[in-house]
């Protein structure tokens, strides 16, 4: 039990270090991008955590929390990391398109890695409920309501962006290159997903309390 506690603590420290390297660390150390190391560390930590999660016996929390709610919390976590990472690196998208901008390409690569880690974690979490019903009419109703929140958040962001681009003086829009606007539109999608996942998780949580 003591060993398990230390192992989880080590994983937490590793995840924290990975996020720091990814989000706030120096951009270059000895000519090497520490962001890559951060992403590698984050994926490795996720894999080890997966193994740990798969070994835990079914507890009371797992019995109380539905597969849909687990998926919603995992989705909220990963989209939150993706949104924060994207925002922390958004200044890199001012300098030209992806093929002439290796730093922006690295951000895109790291986001794809995050997506892969998320897919794997989701499938492992789902495997714990193998053989039982994973979704029913209540889950679909919650998803429907949450997608309304996601759509609303997306609309607010797009309208805000359109108003800002349409009404700001040109001198204040020097940062708004076509590549930056393209990336802001991608960010709008990520923002919509984040709001949808958080709304789903909160609705499940509210139902249990």
């Amino acid at each position: 039990m003591m060993l398990r506690r230390w192992a989880w603590l080590a994983l937490l420290v590793s995840a924290g270090l990975a996020l720091w390297l990814l989000l706030a660390g120096p951009s270059r150390v000895l000519g090497f991008d520490p962001g890559k190391l951060g992403m590698f560390l984050l994926v490795a930590t996720t894999w080890v955590s997966l193994y740990g999660v798969s070994q835990i016996p079914k507890g009371e929390l797992e019995v109380m929390v539905s597969p849909g709610e687990w998926r919603a919390w995992v989705g909220s976590g990963f989209t939150l990391i993706a949104v924060v990472y994207f925002l922390s690196k958004i200044s890199l998208f001012q300098h030209g398109p992806a093929w002439g901008n290796p730093e922006a390409s690295a951000v895109a690569r790291n986001l794809v890695m995050l997506l892969i880690a998320w897919t794997v974690l989701s499938s492992v979490v789902s495997a714990r409920w193998k053989g039982v019903v994973q979704e029913d009419e209540r889950d679909r109703e919650i998803e429907k309501q949450a997608s309304g929140w996601g759509r609303g958040a997306l609309m607010v962001f797009i309208i805000g962006l359109a108003v800002m681009l349409g009404f700001s003086p040109a001198a204040k829009l020097e940062w708004a290159s076509h590549f930056m606007i393209a990336n802001l539109l991608v960010f709008a999608l990520m923002w919509g997903w984040l709001c949808e996942y958080v709304a789903t998780a909160v609705m499940y949580w509210r139902d249990r309390h």
Partner: protein, 71 residues
């Protein structure tokens, strides 16, 4: 999803059917155990189809399991 005008006797019927577990009822109706928990807590109103499935799992009529709260 919070609060519903429907009251139900799911818990009572489970005990009258040999202390049927929530998991067993969920499997019989094709829903998750958490949906049965939400139903028993009065936090979710089932579709007509699910209400019939639950009543059928107990072998009784739908009006013996569900009723309006004002009644």
């Amino acid at each position: 999803m919070s609060g519903t005008p429907l009251a139900n006797e799911i818990r009572r019927w489970r005990f009258e059917r040999g202390e049927m577990t929530q998991e067993a009822l969920a499997q019989a109706c094709g829903v998750t155990r958490q949906t049965i928990i939400a139903l028993e807590a009065g936090k979710y109103a089932p579709s007509l189809e699910l209400a019939f499935r639950i009543a059928r799992a107990f072998g009784v009529g739908i009006d013996e399991v569900f009723r309006w709260k004002t009644e």
